[in-house]
Symmetry: C2
Subunit: 144 residues, 2 copies
DNA sequence: ATATTAAAAGACAAAAAGGTCTTTTAATAT
DNA sequence: ATATTAAAAGACCTTTTTGTCTTTTAATAT
């Protein structure tokens, strides 16, 4: 459903938000990659993109690393997914027509659109903080 | 959401079922590719796969081509998607954990699973005939 | 039987996604 | 000021997806 890139992005962001708020510190790419079991350099590139979009913050140098403010905890999953896969994600036609158009629908439009819209609603209503909270509680997991 | 391969597959199947039942004839790959606006040889390969899985039928030679019985009209979208993308499609964890596991869920499992399940239900309940009927009515379209 | 036809099969190639490694830049502790 | 540190940037590679082209196989009309 999501690209690998998106999967790593979301897992990394949840980890960073949780950890950097817990210890009020910055967290390095090496630790992130280890903890979420993702390829280190690839994850670094993804975080560069998210950093440019100000979804995550970073500082270089000693004691540097990635961190997020509590304001950034209000960022929605949709913001992350859009930053990676582009602004049109979960907007297109299921059968690849040039656009999803009510007035000229593809054969599965009626069946598909409600589901796609639920997905979009879910991504719009879910923020990083709520997910990080569940992680801190220990009721959800980022690996295995 | 679906791979390009799946998109072409579904569009091709709907076209073939509709056309081959309407005129009680076989329909060639050239016509299919033109009518659904897909790459001809690529579409041919996809239909080879679907043909091996007996989702569509074909005969070689003069007046040959692809066709589908009315029994094949009862085939579900899920059968097509599985034939192409494998049997585990829409079963995995949203965040790429090794499996989607209730007892060890990822942070978005609660939000994601109901949507994924709706998708699976939709694909299970939608058959080719119902889509082809809509196409024949002229209420839906395969191109643009 | 043979020529014709159309799908099947297979070799290739381009593009995108996923991933690795090295060099550069900038922050900061000393 | 300088050495150290860690992210940013960029070159490069691998795999998968998507797509093209040619050859082979098999059906059938003649
Ligand atoms: S037109 Fe295809 S999903 Fe809306
Ligand atoms: S565990 Fe991730 S979706 Fe179920």
């Amino acid at each position: 459903m999501f690209s690998k890139t998106c999967e790593y992005a979301i897992r990394a962001i949840i980890y960073i938000y949780n950890k950097s708020n817990l210890c009020d510190c910055k967290v390095g790419i090496k630790e992130i990659a280890t903890e979420i079991q993702s390829p280190e350099h690839f994850t670094a590139k993804i975080l560069q993109v998210l950093s440019r979009q100000e979804i995550v913050s970073s500082v270089k140098g000693p004691n540097g690393g990635f961190y997020m403010s509590s304001a950034q905890g209000q960022i929605k999953l949709l913001d992350i997914v859009r930053a990676i896969d582009g602004p049109r994600v979960f907007m297109g036609c299921a059968l690849g027509l040039s656009q999803c158009d009510e007035s000229r629908p593809c054969p599965i439009h009626t069946e598909y659109k409600p589901i796609r819209d639920k997905m979009l609603t879910m991504l719009t209503n879910t923020n990083v903080e709520s997910l990080a909270t569940k992680l801190e509680e220990g009721s959800v997991f980022l690996v295995k």
